[in-house]
């Protein structure tokens, strides 16, 4: 095994562990990550194996298949993160609104 392969595998495992901890080891996430990790490690350890899957799917090279998968995963992550951002933005608006209403009550009571 080449040093870069070792580094990539360690990086994949580390990212998976951090993500698992963040999502509190939910069963669905564990299963999804384990599958993804298995394919990831396989692709790094034996790059030619991706070509077999690529050919099966009608893609000539395994590297191309990985590129397509990466782009789709990236776009999916972007959509999901933006959805969370919007939710946070709405919560932030709600807090600012509550604060404005509460401040008015406080100021009114102080004046009284």
């Amino acid at each position: 095994m080449e040093p870069i392969q070792l580094l990539l595998i360690i990086a994949q495992i580390a990212i998976a562990l951090v993500y698992l901890k963040l999502t509190r080891y939910r069963f669905g996430t564990v299963l999804f990550l384990a599958t993804l990790l298995l394919f990831g490690v396989l692709a790094v350890y034996d790059p030619d194996s991706t070509t077999v899957i690529a050919n099966y799917l009608g893609v000539e090279r395994g590297a191309d298949l990985l590129l397509y998968a990466t782009v789709i995963c990236f776009c999916g992550a972007l959509v999901a993160i933006y959805g969370k951002f919007r939710k946070l933005d709405e919560q932030h608006t709600g807090v600012i609104r509550e604060l404005a209403l509460l401040r008015q009550i406080l100021e009114r009571n102080e004046d009284a």
């Binding site: 919007r86 600012i96 609104r97 404005a100 209403l101 008015q104 100021e107």
Partner: protein, 223 residues
């Protein structure tokens, strides 16, 4: 109650707007949308000030005003009124008439119902507004003569059902969506709008239309 959303408004213009509105005989709710420096108005039983800690946008300021009104059982009618001196307080009576007659739950001002009002609008802005009107028709199924005007009046039935989630200018389209969704009776009345160099500099740029369209598409995707 008249809601006046304010963001970095020229103090003299704001004072003039509030002075003119005091003559309307209604309570005024100023919502300072995170202005720098903060808005200074003389608070009294008839003038209430709410302050956003940070700037959120006109839609958010109006929603804050409506949230305040929902909790006040004595508020039967709300009027949205821009702070930049574009609107005439004398038009408020026209807005309220269909509400008092029980013909509508929400009444929108329109700059396109009278030839004289239409001609006051700068040509480019007129074109953008007409495109906005068509866009609103497509996404909300409501066909109006005007789009994105800040002058409107709502009865309690309307402001208890309408809840704006769009913080910025796309709220005007979202509001129509909700009018359609809650089957609110709507009406349009002619109003005049004065375009001064100040109000044109302060108001929306024509490019903002693209932002509004983008915000609406995102709202459709992330409902």
């Amino acid at each position: 109650m008249i809601i006046v959303p304010v963001y970095n408004e020229e103090p003299a213009i704001l004072r003039r707007t509030l002075k003119a509105l005091r003559g309307a005989g209604a309570r005024i709710l100023v919502v300072d949308d995170g202005s720098h420096p903060a808005v200074e108005v003389a608070v009294s039983p008839d003038v209430i000030l709410l302050r956003h800690s940070v700037n959120l946008g006109q839609g958010a300021a109006l929603e804050t005003g409506m949230a305040f009104a929902r909790k006040d059982q004595f508020v039967d009618i709300l009027v949205h009124f821009d702070a930049d001196g574009q609107h005439f307080p004398s038009d408020i009576a026209n807005l309220l008439a269909p509400l008092f007659k029980g013909e509508a739950d929400i009444v929108f001002g329109s700059r396109f119902m009278r030839q004289a009002d239409r001609l006051r609008i700068p040509p480019m802005r007129r074109l953008i507004l007409q495109l906005g009107r068509i866009f609103n028709r497509v996404v909300t199924s409501i066909q109006m003569t005007d789009a994105h005007i800040g002058l409107r009046a709502l009865n309690r039935r309307a402001f208890e059902r309408i809840s704006l989630r769009e913080n910025r200018m796309a709220y005007a389209t979202e509001l129509l969506w909700q009018v359609h969704k809650h089957e609110l009776r709507w009406h349009e009345v002619p109003v005049a709008v004065v375009y001064t160099p100040y109000s044109r500099a302060k108001g929306q740029s024509s490019w903002n239309a693209f932002t509004i369209v983008g915000d609406i598409f995102l709202r459709i995707i992330y409902r």
